[in-house]
Subunit: 362 residues, 2 copies
């Protein structure tokens, strides 16, 4: 596969996600939001791949609920490149389903499993990284793409590197010796200063045959469902209900051998896991405010994120003496919270689920 | 006038006011807002007078721009009880115009000059105060209604009392020996602790003949205009342009003799001079939040004032960890500011006047 003609990208676009509520909703997940400008996160995820992958080799795995919207966002992709889960059960079943679809098209394929809703500022470097990872995957490694940790995050998973595997396309590769999900702060700080850990980007590269073998070995129930669906495609929706929920990290990576990590720095990567993260990704104005979609007048205000998707051009948002706040203004919901508490939007969403009439706003 | 049959109330309802922007606008002044519930401030001002003044003896002085709206709010008032200034020039010209109109109806009348946009919680006591003031006005005093100062306000004017004038209808009356407009904080503190000062409520009671004599003596230009307009009513709009701007306090009270003050406590009075003041007037919920017009979900939030006049019943306002903030949500403007800076709304309004397109929101 040295000419990359059997290299496929699979974009995982089935996530729901409530962390950017109230802009993201059950029927309008983060990947479908134009968070950073005119294009949706999903459109950006597809378009950054174009120099490396022709449209025929870009697959999207999502669930039926989002498929039509995503197809409309990317008319350049063939309609049957959308692999539809009957229901979401986590990233492992989603990728297994996509791997099975690829196996039928190109049994020797290498697949890059990519996210649909992350920011990647350095797109050319990202493609170089994907090309390097493909070469390593050809040697039958399960390749993880690591991110140089920027701080002692307790929200990301970490990958510890072991013995060096050599240099691939300008990147150093290592054996991955341990996965650590969302650590407590002391451990996160130790990993940050130790220098042996990368953040787990949630992006992976491997041969289709290799990942399907891992599914068969580690997730036999999922493998059985895929085998039944392959024999009788019409039964997929029915048998899919029996698939256990699991992620690639827990279900596959933690129990796998021959795992590699390519630690990448300089990608300008961000998962935009909260409203606050937008302030890290987009440049603020001279007052340190970031204003998207609204006319804004701030008196002695700084570090304010204003996002309005409501009556564009006919709505003014005004603040006095506001510091480090997030204001998200949608047609039916207004959210105001301190910037460093924007992660707690999840708790609001949980309360809304329990509140009379609250589901209207989910 | 001991039976009060020549006692008239004149409600000054011509103020523009930007302190409650963005709810109050040039065409929707504070007196026309249902700030405290279902009724507008003006409706409340009229209705609290009903047990003392029949509708025929309640006049309203306002400018042409607001007249139709105010008439619709109070169909119980005779249409020709609305005295219209061609343009606003402050409270002195407005009251002089109303006094002239009253002189033609009832030359012996006593007039109570009342505000249209203040909160008065103890309405029966307020009417008792008005009755007491009328008796003192019959003795030819210019009577001011004082408010017991609740704190060292630098935003109100103060009235210093001198020799006692006796007891009127349960209230002690005094000569007023000094008016002090909006003092600096040290002086405000000294006046508060000294116990000789009342806040100036902006409400006055006097004989029509007495106030017109004061206008003639102290504001001869205004008196001349009134005289010309009385001779040729059709010329009022034209000659009114020559009236100098002045208030009752500066133009009349500071230079008048035989001024009295009745210090009133227990009125539960508030001029609602800012958004923050609503929190003093209306009872908050168990978390200390005051929510008007919105569905609200606050996570660890307290002391928050939420006022929404936008899409009632179909809009949720959610906050996380917000303390002592004001959120005012209107159809085209959203304001967010700390509670103790809500007075600075005026500065926002000034900036909007200068901003391209800003007048849309005034």
């Amino acid at each position: 596969m040295s000419d990359l003609n059997s290299y496929y990208a699979v974009i995982m676009a089935g996530g729901g996600g409530t962390r950017l509520w109230p802009l993201s909703r059950q029927d309008r997940p983060k990947q479908s939001l134009p968070l950073l400008g005119d294009r949706t996160m999903f459109q950006m995820a597809v378009q950054r791949l174009a120099p490396l992958f022709p449209p025929e080799r870009i697959l999207v795995v999502t669930n039926a609920r989002y498929a039509e919207d995503l197809r409309q966002q990317t008319p350049e992709l063939p309609a049957d490149n959308f692999v539809l889960e009957p229901a979401p059960h986590g990233t492992a079943p989603a990728i297994a389903l996509a791997a099975q679809a690829l196996q039928q098209r190109a049994p020797a394929a290498v697949m890059a499993c990519l996210t649909a809703d992350h920011h990647i500022g350095q797109e050319a470097r990202f493609r170089d990284l994907l090309a390097a990872a493909a070469a390593l995957a050809e040697e039958d490694f399960l390749v993880t793409l690591g991110i140089a940790p920027a701080f002692a995050s307790t929200g990301f998973g970490y990958i510890q590197r072991g013995a060096p595997l050599g240099r691939y396309g300008g990147f150093d590769a290592f054996r991955a010796v341990r996965f650590k999900e969302k650590p407590a702060l002391p451990e996160a700080q130790a990993m940050l200063t130790g220098g042996l850990h990368s953040w787990n980007s949630g992006m992976f590269v491997w041969r289709v045959a290799r990942i399907l073998a891992e599914v068969e070995r580690q997730l036999p129930a999922l493998h059985a469902v895929l085998a039944r669906a392959a024999a009788q495609p019409a039964t997929l929706a029915e048998v899919w209900a029996g698939v256990p929920n699991t992620t690639l990290d827990y279900g596959i990576m933690e129990g796998a051998a021959e795992v590699a990590v390519i630690p990448a720095d300089g990608l300008d990567w961000d998962d935009i896991g909260s409203w606050e993260a937008l302030l890290d990704v987009l440049p603020p104005d001279a007052d340190g405010n970031l204003v998207i979609g609204a006319e804004y007048l701030g008196l002695q205000s700084g570090g304010v994120l204003v996002h309005s998707s409501h009556a564009p051009g006919r709505r003014l948002i005004a603040t006095i003496g506001l510091k480090n706040m997030v204001i998200v203004d949608t047609e039916d919901v207004l959210l105001v919270c301190p910037r460093d508490r924007s992660q707690e939007v999840r708790a609001l969403v949980e309360q809304l689920k329990l509140r009379a009439g609250g589901k209207l706003y989910l």
